[in-house]
Amino acid sequence: MISGKGGTGKTTITASFAALAQNTVMVDCDVDASDLHLLLHPQIMQTIEFQGSKLAVMDKIKCVECGLCKDACKFDAINDSFEVNRLLCEGCGVCVVVCPEKALNLSERISGYAFISKTKYGLMSHARLNPGEASSGKLVTLVRQNARQIAEKEKCNLILIDGPPGIGCPVIASVTGIDIGLVVTEPTMSGIHDLERALQLLNHFNVSPLVCINKYDINRKNTKEIVKVCEKNNSEVIGKISFDPIMTKAMVAGKTVVEHSPESTVSREIKRLWETLLRI
């Protein structure tokens, strides 16, 4: 599940799929603003430290303030008082090789944690990137490796991935090697624009792109436009979900919408979408 644009309903829909599916591993690849756990309530069984990029560490006693490191750093991570800015340092090690006094070293840093958890729907692989850390793509790759291992061990034939917004490195890490990419969009100008770039991305990585329009009834003209955009990009709309505040009410209750209000129109639409996906 990806979307390009954020807030289109990826997580809400993924969580509902989790409740409808059987023999599935759930994965949250939105590692910096992950929300799937708020609906699936995982119990953490295993925590794995994640070391992302390294961090340059300055030995102030050895430093003679010659400025070579500051000039060589492409990320402006060394300031005028020769301190390394943890937020800007990408751990490349250039400062270490240019320093004539050996005052700099690269150290490992813990950028976050990956988790393997149990939910009432099955096992879940997820993570938390510490706020402000880089390397989200690397953490996504770790989360997917974990998911794959659990799936093989538990003989699950389906892995459901809730992806991050955008089209950059964590999204690329989420979609490489998947079989089906479902893009969740909404009938707004922004939704359409971002959908097109998400479809191009999936096509580029040879993933068959399918589309679901959330809140399709807030602008029917744009919904028609989305159908055209899909045709142009080797894709098709396989489901439409109405706008209904019940989705948010279910979220406030900490439940998936298909369990919170199984008889609602949106729940029926999500079920239909899920059955269509299974046939594909």
Binding site: D32, G93, G132
Partner: protein, 278 residues
């Protein structure tokens, strides 16, 4: 003064706030740093007067000079270079352009070549100067494009930065050096969870911030309680109205059709100015 607009969660209304705020103050420079999915231009229809490619530097190997010693690949923290017995390969999409391989090569076999990863567009919409970046589809690294957009920060002007969602490097690069940051949040469990992480990031960087709550009646009161407890000012509340949602879907900034909101955004800006002064 630089004011950035951010939120951990996507789709909370960052672009809505950025666009309506820019339209409410005079002669703003608006920088769309969501280079993966830029949307500001869809609302402002700028007349584009300059398009600039964004390049990054990646290594180029002169195989005539290379003796496959492997020092460059050993140095590279991003696995962008692979050296075997008589072969060297560059994976340029993994390269962070640190320039280290060139420094460690003892035979000067590495030079740098430019690789295009996106574009920056500059234009005018009314009295707004708009700059936005576009990361090329399939390129993983948005940071160099964001940096290029942010070069258009101008002294003595009001600069409004629309940041990408999330709390990792693209968001940090976008909000960095801001005088103030507006966090746009939805009063829902997802909205609150992601707001908390974003607050942690801003506290780490040391940027003063306040919250705009969007779609005020859709969720619960927990986001309000959190702001009160943390003494985070709530700068503006935007209700969930079908008309606002519908204008948004058509790409129309809502203050254009609902003029009473113009003064509210102006008041928001005055309040930020006073908070920055203090």
């Amino acid at each position: 003064m630089i004011v950035s607009i951010a939120s951990g969660k996507g789709g909370t209304g960052k672009t809505t706030v950025a666009v309506n705020l820019a339209l409410s103050v005079k002669n703003a420079v608006l920088l769309d740093c969501d280079v993966e999915e830029p949307n500001v231009h869809l609302f402002l229809h700028p007349k584009i007067n300059e398009v600039k490619p964004v390049y990054v530097l990646t290594p180029q190997i002169n195989e005539g000079l290379c003796d496959y010693c492997g020092k460059c690949s050993k140095f590279c923290e991003y696995n962008a270079l692979f050296v075997s017995l008589e072969k060297i390969r560059v994976f340029s999409e993994l390269c962070h352009s640190c320039g280290g391989c060139k420094i460690v090569c003892p035979l000067e076999a590495i030079t740098e070549r430019k690789r295009k990863i996106g574009t920056v567009k500059m234009g005018i919409a009314g009295n707004i100067e708009l700059v936005y970046g576009e990361l090329a589809v399939s390129e993983p690294m948005p940071i160099p494009v964001i940096k290029e957009v942010k070069r258009h920060v101008k002294d003595r002007k009001i600069v409004i930065v629309d940041s990408p969602p999330g709390t990792s490097c693209p968001m940090i690069e976008s909000v960095y050096n801001s005088d103030y940051c507006i966090l746009v949040a939805e009063p829902t469990p997802f909205g609150l969870h992601d707001l908390k992480i974003t607050v942690e990031v801003l506290e780490k960087i040391g940027i003063p911030f306040g919250v705009v709550i969007n779609r005020t009646e859709i969720g619960d009161r927990k986001t309000y309680d959190y702001c009160k407890r943390k003494e985070i000012p709530i700068l503006l509340e935007i209700p969930f109205q079908r008309k606002i949602a519908e204008l948004y879907s058509r790409g129309i900034p809502f203050i254009n059709e609902m003029p009473e909101w113009r003064t509210r955004f102006q008041r928001l800006f005055t309040e930020i100015k006073e908070r920055v002064k203090d």
